[in-house]
Amino acid sequence: MLFAGIKFMKRQYLILIICVALFVTSVSLRVWRLDKAPAAMTGDELSIAYNAFSLGKTGTDEYGKFLPLSFKSFGDYKVPLPMYLHIPSVLWLGINPWSVRLPTAIISSLTPVLVFLLVWELGMRMPEFRKSEKRIVWAAAIAGAFLALSPWHIHFSRGAWEASIAVTFTVAGMYYLLRDKAGVTSTVLGMLLLGLSMYTYHASRVYTIVLIGMWLVSTTGLKIWQEGWSQVKNIRQIVIGLMVFGIVASPAVLALTNVTGNARFTSSSVFSYWSSPIFSQELGSAGMEYTLNSFERMFAFANSVAAKWLAYVSPAHLFALGDPVERHSVPEMGRLYAIDAVWILLIVIYVLMVKKNSWHWFLLGWIVAGMLPAAVTRDEYHTIRSLMMIVPMTMLGGLAVVFAVEKIPSSLVKKAVVFIAGGTYIFVCLFYVATYQFMFSAERAESYQYGIKDAMEFIEPLYGEYDHVVIDTPPAYGNPYIHVVSYLEYDPKRFQEQVKRNEFTLHGREIVEVTGLENFEFRSIYWPDDRSKRHTLFVGTPLSLPMSDLQQTANAVVLKEIFLPTGVPIFRIVAIQ
C-alpha cells in the first residue's frame, strides 16, 4: 500500500515530489528551444511585448493611454493582464522570443500541478474514490501527466497566447474555491484569481462566470434545494467571495456591454452569421437560391450551428484534423494524440458506470463551459478559444483510467497494461516532440511570420541612411509596423509622436492601420512605380520585388535575400541609391 502507515509529513513530501515532477516535466516540454520552435514571433505576440515595453518605459500603451484596462490592437481590443505580466521580462531581457514567451510557458507549466491538486480535492468527494487515498493520488497524478504531455496544451503554452494564461488563472481560482476546508481566505483568493482571469483572455469572461455558477450550484444550491437555507453554513464566506469577484471583475463585465465589447460580440457572434454576406455567399455557391427560400436558409443555418458545436467533440477534430489555421496546429496532427482516444473512451464508460454525484456533473459541465466561448462564435473551429476544454477532459481522464485499471482482476495483467500503455504513451509523446520541434517549426514558419526579424536585424544599422524605408504589407504578415518597432525596440515616446495611422471600419469591425513612422512607410510595393524612387530601402516579398524586374533597374541593389527554413525565399531587401 502506497500510503499505509505513512504519517502526515511523509504524505506532504509525496505531494511535493509529484508536484515538482509534474512541474519539471511541463517546464521541460514548454521551455526547451523556446526561441526556435515556433520559428518566429507573430504580430499578436509582439503586440503584447511592445505594449509591455511601452508600459514599462512610459506607463502608457502604444496609443499613449495611461495604464489602460483595454488595449486597442489591430482589429480589436486586447485584454490587459498579459501586457502587465510581460513588463518585467521585456524590460529585463529586451524584446526577444525568451522574454516574450517565457512568462506564458512558466505560468502554463503550473496548470498540470494545479490539475493534480484539484483532482485530489474532487476525488475525495467521489464515492468510488473516497475510500482509497492511493487511488486518488494515482488519478490526480495521471490527470496532471495527461495535461503536462498534452499536445494541445503544450502548443499554446509555447508562445504568448493569452488563452493559456487564462486557463492557469481559472484553474488556480477553482482550486482555491474547491479546497476541502476552504475558509474565507481561500474563497477570497479563489475569487480574486477568477476575477483576474477575466482580464487575461476574452473567452475566459464567458467560461469563468459559468464555472462560478456551477460551483455555486454544486456547493450551495443543491444543499438549499435539498435541506433548506438553515443548513447552509458558509453563506457569509460565499457572499464575501462573490463581492470580491464582483469588485475585481466588474470593469471586465462592463467592457462586454460597452462599445468595444459589443463590437467584438457583434462581429464574431454566431448570431451575426445568419445575416452575414459570407453565409449568403456560401449558400449561393452551394447552389441554393437563398434569396428566394428562407426555409432552406433556416435549415442550412441550423445545420451549420449544430455542426459548429459538435465539432468540438468530433473525433476527427480531436484526433486527426486539428485546427484549420496553420499556426494553431502541428502538421498531420489533431488536438490530441490518437492514443488519447483510449482514455476518452474510458471517460465515457466511467461516466456511464459510476453513480454520479454533483461533482461528476460539475466536471462534465466544465467541458461544456470550455467549449462555450468558441462554439457561440461564427469561426469554423477554434482550438484556442476552446483550450479550457482540455483541463476537465484530463481530470476525468485520470479518474477514468484508474477506475478502469482497478477493474482488472489480475495484478500481473494490471502491471502489464500499465507498462505497455505507459511505454506507448512515452513513445507517442517523443514522436510529437520531434514533429513539433523540428518539422512544425520548419514547415509552419511562414504562418508565424518568419523572416521579418532577420530583415529588421539587417536594416537596423542602415535604415537611418535612407530617406524612405518601405516595408511591404503582405496579408499573411498582418501589420509589419509591430515587427519593426519591436525588433528595433523603438522608443515608445518617439513612436507615439511620429506614428501615422489610418482608421476605418470594415464589416462592422474597427480597423487601425499604421501607414508610416518617421522614414518608414508601411504599404504595398508596386515596382513599376517604386523603381523611380531615390535613396529608398525596400523590404518586400519576391512577388513584390521580382528579380527579373530588379535586374532591369539600373541603380537597384539587392542587399539581402531571406529564406524560410525550408529554403523558399520569403523576403528581399533592395536599396535604390
Binding site: 455542426a307 476527427a316 484526433f319 517523443l430
Partner: protein
Amino acid sequence: MRIDVQDVGKGLLLSGALVLVVLLGLQVAPPPGFASHEAVLGWQAEIHHWLESPSPGYSFMITLLAGHLENPIVRTRLPAVLAGMLMPLITAFLCKEIFGGWRAAVVAGGVMALNPWFIQLSRAAFPQTLALMWGGLCLWSLLRKKTILGMVFLCLALVTDVRALVVLPLVAGSLLWFTDGKMKSWVGVGMAVLVAGWIMRDIMWEFYWKESFFLEIGFVNRINEMRGYLLNQGWGAAAPLLFNKATVGLYYILRRIFAPWDWYWWFTASRYPQNLFIKHLGNFYFVEWPFFMIGLFSVVGYLCTVGKKYVLNVEWLWLLVWIGISSLPMALRLRPDLHMDFYWVLPIWCMLVGLGVSTFMDKLSLIKYGSWIAMTMVVFILLGGIALQTGFRRNSFQALAFKQWNFGYEQVADLLAPLPRDRDYFITDALGGNPEAELSLLLPNLKPEQIHWGSIRWNEINYLMPRMLVASPKEIPGGYLDACTLKPQIPCPESVQTVYYPDSSIAVYVIRWD
C-alpha cells in the same frame, strides 16, 4: 410455428409507414445528367462482359433485372433504385433482429429512407447501394441462422462493391464470433470470400494495392523529409527510430480511421465540397445526433453493465466492431472518397438513431416534454427530407452539379440518333468522363470502329477530315463557325447544332460535313 397477430399487425403498419417515407424519398429529382461511371456499368451489362465491369455484381443485375427495358439510363439505374427502395425495410428488419423492438426498427428504417446521403446514392447507378442491400440481407440471414442464404447474399455483396470485400467479411466474421457461429458458417464465409475475391482480384489489386498510400512515392518521401529535419539538428540516431514506415504508417492509418468522424462533414458537408451533393444540408440531419449518441451510449452502457439494465444479447458488442471497421476502406486508400468509402457506416447510424429514440421514449416519464422532443425530431427529419427535395430540384443546384454528372451525352445522342451510320465521326471528351461508354450505351446501333474518341487539336481535323465532329467551343477556333476562313482551310460545315448546359452556356457543337 405460432404467428403472433399483434406482431404481424405491427409489421404491416411498419411496412406501410416505410413505403410512404420511401415514396417521399423517391420524389427527389434525379441527377442532372448521366455520369460516365454509370455508363461504364451499363455498357458492360449491354455487351455481357460482366467480369470486366468495375462492379461485376451490379452489371449482372442490370442484365438480369432490366435487360428488357428500352431506356438505357433507366435500365442502368434500376438496380440501385430498387435497392434504395428495399434498404429501409431491410434496415428495419435488421434493427428489429438486433434490438428486438419495432419502435427502434421503424425509426431506423425511416431515418434510412430520408437520409440525404442514401437518397443521393440510390437515385443513380452507384453499386454501393446495391452492395449495402445485399450486405444487409446477408447479416439479417446470419442473425436468423439461415447460413446458406447468408453466404449467397455475402457473395453477391462482395462482387458488387470492392469496399465490401474489406468491410463485410470482417463484419460477418465478427458476428459469427460473437454469436458463436458454427463451423459450417465459418466455412461458408470463407468460401464466399474466396469466390468473390477471385472474381474481384484485378479490381482489388487496383483499389487496395496500386492506390494504397503505402506505395505512393510521397509517403516514402514524407518519411525522409521527417527524418531530414531531425538529421539537420544532430538527432541522427533518433530519426529512423521515430520516423519509419511502421510508425508513420500506423499513425496515418489511425488518423484516417478517425477522419470520417467529422461532424462538419456529417451535418454540413462543407469540408468536402463536391457538387454531387448539396452543401449545407449535410449527409445526416443534425437532430439525429443526440439520438445517435443515446443509442451509442446505450450500447456502451449495456456492455458495461451486462445483465443489470437490459436483457439483450451480445450482438450489441458486434455493432461497435462494425463502427470501427467502417473506416477501413478509407484508411487504406491513397485518395479516399468519404462519400463512397465510408458508406458502410450508414446502417449503423440509422440503427443507433432508432435505438436512441426507443431508449429515449422508454425514459419519457422521467423527462419533461419528452414526447414533444421526440415529435420535434420526427418533424425535423421530415422537414429535412423536404429541404433535400427542394434543394435538389432547384435550378441552381442542377446547374451547379451538371458537369459532375457528365451532362450533355444524352442530348448529343439525340442529335446523332437519326443520322446515317456509315460515316466517320470524331467525338472529343469535351463533356468529360468516358464518351465511348456513354455513347455506345445511348446509341445501340453505333459501330465503334467508325468513331474516333479523345481530345483533338484543330490542325488534326485537316488530315482526319471526319464527316462529323462533336467538340467544345474551346476546341474549335473562334471565327471558324462564323466565317470558316481560318487556316488551315477546312470546308464550311453543312450544319452546326448546339448542345447547351443547364446554365445556358454552350457544352458542345455537333458539326457535320457532307
